[in-house]
Symmetry: C2
């Protein structure tokens, strides 16, 4: 056998393309069967029919669960369910863990209770805990009944934490050793395992009460003198987590200290689980995605091929907020209709003032949301940052505002109009800087996610504010 | 000694707070020295002065390089340089690797050539390659001269790839073994190392020509019979990368297959380096951040405390684009000034149509940018997706558009105005759906990053388009 040569990304696309080709062929045959109901063709077509599906199933069996998950996500609903039916039942559980929440829902909906129980029974307690919120209650109870006491306790423990807490993400595959044995003994002990949990970069050193004393990295164990005692080789400066800790903080620590696994301890320092880098990578990915989705006013990850009405629901909330803010902005304009009637040019120029303000405010907020997410910012720095952003707004306002002021003057032949334009731009950019700093900071201080809706709120302020400033100045100085 | 008990996130904040307190105290003393020039106080103050700095230095010496990097990023420039001067010279290199690009620049600017050479000489070839683009040319040459032939070759190899290629991210710390030896021999061989590279979850199996034959995970090695041959224990289905491969694809593969390290092979299958999960985590983080920054029209990561002018430059480009598009939208309105003069309500209502379109288009694009980044979408699906988004736009347009139409009718007492409002909203949301699908798809097909500027372009289309549709309909049917 030879080492795989294809680039993983290409291999993934190839797999998907092959599956799509097989599905297409299958649909074609199906279509033929439907249209021509000549009985003597039945046999032939049903053979071809079966051949295609058998080939597809064969293909799927050879794939890594993560690759099947990828294919399921990339397929439209009807093809997705066709593939899902062909996947071997004993792989259902691990694949359900890999797919996105939105796709997982559609898959679970397509399964009956018996299938779900069979799938869930394949999983470890911590994996089951990940899946449990999406499963029907009845299924969870049934599976719980089949667990042993230790597993049931682990499952209950995992379920008792929120999704964004370390306790919900830890697993229980712990290799524990004592400090007062030699490395030789540890090596012999490890050899007794059928396999070590994946990934294993260290084993955990505990005392008789189960309290974490240190960790022994395999890369140290392997180069140590077999006679050396664990306590002399182990690392005692350990980054350990508590189950109630924030998962995002844990992910940042993994990133910062380049961890592969890390122990989780309870309030008394007893080892109760471990975190692994693969879970933390998922946290990082999800967090940055949800920031991006939230800033755009999407409630959550959306199945690309979700039914139209599901998509409408996902986007409804923020569109409604946006509608209200747009209406408010519109009323601000309405208050100045008299001025617009006299100088209609105002109507053409006002969206520029509002638009640039929104863009600039969003730039500021994006930077701050990012800094807050990385833990690089504290509330005490808000003032300093505000001063800086005001400076940026002032310069941009004067430079671009003057350019537009000159344009307005040239277009409409009114110098005062140009001056109003420049002034309004500058003031609105400074308003944008202020709002752009304080909205996310305030959200963070209130313990809310600063990414959620920041963008909509900023645009609301810079729109209404921009119209008010520009039309107000015009009314004062040009009427 | 006891295991660390503090939560990592709290510990980080504590460290930062302590450093800030020491800096503050130091500045206070400095201020006193400046103001009161009483000579007899000199001595006392200079002692206090030195004490503060000594304490700060002591504190810094005890910190992990990543923690120092965190502190440097969170401090304003003058404090940052004070701390940087106190960091031990031999740690400069590793800390420079940890800080963000923007902060790295400010630190390198503050160092003279000799300091930079000393810092760079501490690093491995692959680390040096990361730093080289930011270093003065003269420094790179000098350091290159001090490398041995193998290291120089590695450095040159690493420098020959673009930042976003696997070749630029791989390291050269390879533990290689042969397939025809026993596990016992491997264990003895490993014991001869002073230490194994971090992280090590597997060793690489090669033949006499250096061609990768498989990998031996430590978790397998440790549970295997010592007599067993490597070739019987090793994994031969290996996810291997090529140096010219895209780093983001590699990161997705790490995420998908839960890898900790993976081999990099050349075109002939020879093992030339390895990728590690910590580098891949950085890729994931950077990629999702640059998507977020790009969608907001920020050129790159910005030092929070950068001088105002640097920030202005970073945001200049997209603001300018935005200004042009806003001006175009303004001219569209200008073309309908006659209509606005007759029905001034149009001026108040038109920003609603444009604004909702922009918001909705950005929701669509964000979803697609995300799906493209995850490799979940192909060009062939554009049509299908477009139909779906059109459906979403149509429903939202009819529902919200009708609500606003009724409002407009109630406010201005004109049923035809309400109908125009509803129709314009619906059409603009369908335009937004179209643009929102095709702009990122086209960018991706042209091989460009779909996140860059998508948002600005969509807003441009929905603004100009929204004004044109609304004012055009009004002119046709209401005049």
């Amino acid at each position: 056998m030879n080492v795989v040569e294809k680039k993983p990304a290409d291999r993934l696309q190839d797999n998907l393309a092959q599956v799509q080709r097989l599905i297409e062929r299958h649909r074609l045959v199906e279509g033929l069967v439907h249209r021509q109901d000549m009985p003597r063709h039945d046999l032939v077509e049903s053979i071809v029919h079966k051949q295609n599906l058998a080939e597809l199933q064969h293909k799927l069996d050879a794939l890594h669960p993560a690759d099947i998950a990828y294919i399921l996500e990339a397929l439209p609903p009807e093809d997705r369910l066709l593939v899902w039916d062909l996947v071997k039942a004993e792989r259902d559980g691990e694949i359900l863990l890999e797919v996105s929440d939105a796709v997982r829902e559609t898959l679970i909906e397509s399964m009956d209770q018996q299938e779900l129980v069979a799938a869930a029974e394949q999983l470890d307690a911590d994996e089951l805990a990940d899946l449990a919120p999406d499963l029907p209650r009845q299924v969870v109870y049934e599976v719980m009944g089949s667990l042993d006491a230790e597993e049931r306790e682990q499952l209950q423990s995992a379920l008792s934490y929120r999704d964004d807490q370390v306790g919900a993400l830890m697993d229980f595959e712990l290799v524990k050793i004592r400090a007062d044995v030699s490395c030789e003994v540890v090596l012999r002990y490890l050899r007794r395992f059928d396999e070590l949990p994946e990934p294993t970069d260290k084993v955990f050193v505990i005392d008789e009460a189960g309290v974490l004393k240190g960790v022994l990295p395999l890369r140290k164990l392997l180069v140590s003198d077999p006679e050396a005692l664990v306590e002399d080789v182990m690392a005692t400066e350990v980054v350990a987590f508590h189950p109630d800790e924030d998962a995002e903080d844990a992910a940042l620590a993994f990133e910062r200290y380049d961890l592969v696994t890390a122990p989780v301890v309870d309030a008394d320092g007893r080892l109760i689980g471990r975190l692994t880098v693969d879970e933390m990578v998922d946290v990082i990915r999800e967090e940055s995605e949800s920031d991006m989705l939230n800033m755009a006013g999407l409630k959550e990850e959306e199945d690309l091929f979700a039914p139209v009405l599901d998509s409408v629901k996902n986007r409804w909330a923020w569109l409604a907020v946006n509608l209200v803010t747009a209406f408010v902005a519109s009323r601000v304009i309405g208050a100045f209709e008299g001025s617009i009637e006299r100088i209609v040019a105002l109507a053409a120029l006002m969206p520029i003032v509002a638009g640039i303000g929104g863009n600039s405010g969003n730039q500021t907020t994006t930077m701050i949301v990012r800094a807050l997410a990385m833990g690089q910012m504290q509330a005490s720095q808000a003032l300093r940052l505000w001063r800086k952003e005001l400076g940026v707004g002032l310069i941009n306002g004067l430079v671009w505002g003057s350019a537009l002021g000159v344009l307005a003057w040239a277009l409409y032949g009114s110098l005062p109009l140009g001056v109003v334009m420049t002034t309004a731009m500058t003031l609105n950019l400074m308003l944008a800087a202020t709002i752009g700093v304080f909205i996310p900071m305030t959200m963070a201080r209130l313990g809310r996610d600063p990414a959620v809706g920041s963008s909509v709120m900023i645009t609301a302020c810079t729109d209404s504010g921009g119209f008010f400033i520009f039309l107000g100045l015009a009314t004062l100085f040009l009427m």
